[in-house]
């Protein structure tokens, strides 16, 4: 249900791209192994050096689904970054819509990511809905895409998020 037109100010943000954010660590075997422990993933490309050396990649690789983890902000020392990556990087003038809810997201994995790689990303605002009422409250549906690059500025993957930023109904 549409409750208003999109303000010209918000309309202006569509297509805007954030600055780049660099991941705190280079891609590394220890964090890859922790990820594999988390989901009990025995894929030898991730943790078996001998197998991976004989593979088409020539070394272990990062699990594709781990991509966004490489740019997750460090916890200490504190950094002036939002707690979640992506949509909030754009600093949209949304007013009093404090609650973010991820509705859906789609990841595409384009190139392998290896230990030693450095990943950085930026975020583009693809679209923003008018204010809509749902069973959760009142807010905007916001679609953004993260573009992840390696140290050679090759695009290694993307994530498109659909987020609902809302306030509870009064």
């Amino acid at each position: 249900m549409t409750t208003s037109e999109l303000s010209p100010e918000l309309q202006n943000y569509i297509g805007r791209v954030s600055g780049f954010v660099e991941g705190p660590d280079e891609v590394n075997r220890a964090m890859i192994r922790h990820w594999c422990e988390m989901v009990e993933d025995a894929n030898p490309l991730y943790t078996d050096e001998g197998y991976a050396a004989e593979s088409e990649y020539g070394s272990v690789i990062s699990p594709p689904a781990m991509l966004s983890t490489w740019v997750y902000p460090r916890w200490w020392p504190p950094v002036d970054m939002p707690a979640d990556i992506g949509p909030t990087q754009l600093d949209l003038p949304l007013g009093d819509l404090p609650i973010p809810a991820v509705i859906s997201w789609t990841e595409e994995y384009l190139l392998p990511v290896r230990p030693g790689d450095r990943i950085h990303y930026n975020t583009r605002l693809d679209s923003i809905s008018t204010l809509k009422k749902t069973r959760l409250g009142v807010g905007h549906f916001i679609t953004t895409t993260n573009y992840y690059y390696n140290q050679r500025d090759e695009l290694v993957g993307t994530t498109q998020y659909v987020l609902y930023r809302y306030r509870l109904k009064e």
Binding site: M31, H34, W35, E37, M38, V39, E40, D41, A42, N43, P44, L45, Y51, S55, P63, P64, A65, M66, S68, T69, Y72, P73, R74, W75, A83, D84, V102, I103, S104, W105, T106, E107, E108, Y109
Partner: protein, 144 residues
């Protein structure tokens, strides 16, 4: 050790992708926070989670994509490449739940020389609630 190697020719549309199941016990909650780096209190703090309306801490979304990724390459073997993974959240996955990731093949086709398989996946909880609907595209080797 030999690894499974799924060939495109051996896949049938409608074929079942076997489920993988994990229990979200306290150790797993700790591992998820540690491995995803997502320390937001909803993911580990029972009081915070309850104040936010959840029975127990809810896992980070990165865990869900990791489990689905594992489900796919457990099935294809390491030669399978996940190219695309789309997820829709229906219900939170909470501490104390047991979740199973599985699905079926929806389509197989050749695209630009790549032998592709589209999959429909679900993450189902112990009570039958579908926590996540997902779709994926994987590229697998051909016998040609």
């Amino acid at each position: 050790m030999t690894h499974r190697r799924l060939y495109w020719e051996d896949v049938a549309e409608g074929e079942v992708i076997p489920s993988v199941t994990l229990e979200i016990n306290r150790n797993r909650i700790v591992m998820i926070v540690s491995a995803t780096r997502d320390i937001f209190p909803l993911h580990h703090d029972p009081e915070f989670a309850q104040a936010a309306g959840y029975r127990a801490p809810a896992v980070a979304t990165a865990f869900l994509q990791g489990l689905l990724g594992r489900c796919l390459t457990d099935w294809t073997g390491p030669a399978g490449k996940v190219r695309k993974l789309g997820l829709r959240l229906n219900a939170p996955t909470l501490a104390g739940d047991t979740v199973s990731a599985g699905g079926k093949v929806s389509r197989k086709y050749v695209d630009n020389g790549d032998h592709k398989i589209d999959c429909e996946l679900e993450l189902i909880k112990q009570d039958g609630v579908i926590a996540v609907d997902a779709e994926a595209t994987v590229v697998v080797p051909s016998r040609d």
